[in-house]
Amino acid sequence: MKLKYLYLILLLVASLFFTISWAYSTQPKVINILMPAPFADSTSDLIKRYNDEHRQNIQIKVTRGPRETEAVSDLAISSLLLGRSSFDLILMDVTWLPKYAAAGWIAPLDSFIEKADWESLALGARIGNSYKGKIYRWPLAADMGLLYWRKDLMKNPPRTPEELIDISLKLQNEGKVNYGYVWQGRQYEGLSCVFLEILNGFGGKWINNSGDVSIGSNQSKEAAKWLRDLIDTGVSPNAVTNFSENESLQIFSSGQAALMRNWPYAWAELQKPSSVVKNKVGVTTMVAKKGYETTSTLGSWGLSILSTSDKKEESYNVISYLTSEDAQKELFEKNGYTPTSTSIFKNEKLIKDFPILNALGNALEVAKPRPQTPLYAQLSDVLQRELSSILTENKNINDSMNKAKEKTSQILLASGEIE
């Protein structure tokens, strides 16, 4: 009798041992992704489903990064500098890519990518993923600068810089709004994005295709002058020089402004019950002078595989899942993330449910990247400094833009980027 129990216990222990060792040997590979907190939240459903389906093979683990874009980069860089980073994938902003690629931190994806998949991407979504002819990033969400306008206050949105000022002043004089146009004038990356759109609209370039610096051109001076005129004429509040996206959105959603420059995320915010302009807002692209093209600064987030990852194939599998058309659709419907595939922009049913999709598609078609060089952060820093001093210190525009040109050339020369 006692022996029987002993056998039973032995059997139990043995089976337990085998279960544990089996579980251990078939432990799934963990793919660790670093994402800014808002992205981590919005992809959590997708990731949960993936983990349930792939319980045995691959598990995605998301590290919630900070909210602010550059703070995420700081975190990533700190881990990368230590050598072996614990991340396999990083959700990257478009401006980091050349820097990370030049530092050798991210791996080219060309060997994984099917040509047909690449071509399914909208043209605007294909930009900003490559460095020196190799693809390093697959876009998760497109992002581009938009001009939000109040449908209840104007019939058509302004298309030229002059119209924008005229319409604004008229509405302000009639007492319908406190301010005409709100944008991002704080000394930070957003100011460069705002300026790039205006610069293009005035026919200017930051750095042209052959690498020549054209920031000191007359067009760039006119563009800078127009931004300052916005403040001087009262079309934009004085405080706009300390606005980032959030402050602009606050003013616009409280109905105090007729026009706003912001990213697509603002659309979802404007549809919330707390917004007084719900259902009164249209979306288009930035104004441009007659004869010049309207453009929108390309933002866009995408996934890159770190060079140090030993699970590149599995990581790419995760990328494919998170950027599949179904995932894009879900992220668009739930969170307003701009899709990247052409087919989604053509999806009749989706367009009917979300009329903004058309405007987003149009903006993506005219999206322009910021200069794609590892030195971008320096160049943008120079531009922000000079623009901020034009806007807040009333510095001479001519001098400031010439100085921007001189500094930009110095940076590029010192690095051997231009001869």
């Binding site: 550059e70 980069s73 700081d74 860089i77 700190s78 820097k99 030049a102 530092a103 050798g104 004038g185 704080r186 000394q187 930070y188 509040p237 004085n238 405080a239 020089t241 300390n242 402050e247 606050q250 003013i251 590892p374 030195l375 952060a377 320096q378 820093d381 922000q384 400094r385 901020s388 001093s389 806007l391 807040t392 210190e393 510095k395 690095s415 051997g416």
Partner: protein
């Protein structure tokens, strides 16, 4: 024997101060950036030449010095008053002491974010008060002449308790008999403050000032969160510039040069303030004799 006992501390200091400094010095003589593929390439002091000719470095030095000196001076004055009050015996002193430490206990980034909203135009309370009173709103955070003062105010609010705490400890070390003797001799309270309190508090003041100078000189988080260095780079500190070079521009060679450069400046600032405060004591002694 004494030397032997000093050994562990010396080794520890050498490890945590000496080695990084030497490494910084080493990096500062090399090109070490994303352009060199994150390899160290000797560049014969080009970084140092660049530093000396870098207008922005000197501009940031000026900003850092004016920020540090103004905020530390105000903090010191306020802290002496607070310490004197907290040193007296009155009901509720214990809880007041605890409360007065709160600003210092808060994480800098959080309080900096708070101040950013307080000074915000047009949503912040200060702007609202201006509106109610009927003063035209000044854009506190986007006026290059004013913004740096706003950062000083935030810094004063945050770190005055720290100095007050050090000075309070100093006050408590002064024996009461001294004051009693002084009073019996017919001295007035004001005189007692200048003849007894201040001279005996001197080492504590020196300690607090050196601590705070070093901290204020390396100010980073407060500025980064509150203004990001703007407007027109008017609030950019040396530490922020070094950070930009390292983390944003991936130019570690120049960043190390900046850090070392500002380290030398800080050493000079500390020596100067040490001399000034010691001299102050000397004069007081002169008066006594």
């Amino acid at each position: 024997m004494i030397l032997l006992l000093l050994l562990p501390a010396t080794v520890l200091i050498a490890l945590i101060f000496g080695i990084p400094l030497i490494r910084y010095a080493w990096i500062s003589t090399h090109a070490f950036s994303v352009i060199t593929g994150l390899e160290l390439v000797p560049n014969q002091g080009a970084n140092w030449l660049r530093l000396i000719n870098d207008q922005r470095f000197w501009q940031d030095t000026f900003q850092t010095v004016r920020f540090a000196s103004l905020s530390v001076s105000i903090e010191l004055l306020l802290a002496i008053c607070i310490a004197l009050i907290l040193d007296q015996k009155w009901r509720g002193r214990g809880i007041t002491r605890a409360i007065s430490l709160l600003p210092w206990a808060l994480p800098t980034t959080i309080m900096a974010l708070g101040w950013r909203w307080i000074f915000n135009t047009p949503f912040g309370p200060i702007d609202q008060i201006f509106n109610i009173v009927g003063i035209e709103s000044i854009n506190i955070l986007s006026n290059p002449n004013i913004t740096w003062i706003a950062t000083v105010i935030a810094d004063v609010w945050k770190t005055t308790p720290f100095i007050a705490l050090i000075l309070l400890a100093g006050l408590q070390s002064i024996p009461n008999d001294l004051y009693e003797a002084f009073r019996l001799e017919g001295g007035k309270p004001i005189q007692a403050f200048f003849k007894i309190t201040l001279p005996l508090l001197r080492p504590y003041i020196l300690l607090a000032v050196l601590f705070r100078l070093a901290q204020a000189f390396g100010v980073f988080d407060l500025i980064q969160v509150m203004t990001g260095g703007g407007p027109a780079s008017s609030t950019e500190s040396l530490a922020l510039y070094a950070y930009l070079n390292a983390m944003r521009f991936l130019d570690f060679g120049y960043s190390a040069t900046l850090m070392l450069g500002s380290f030398f400046l800080l050493v000079i600032a500390c020596i100067l303030s040490w001399i000034i405060i010691s001299r102050f004591q000397y004069q007081l002694n002169e008066e006594k004799t």
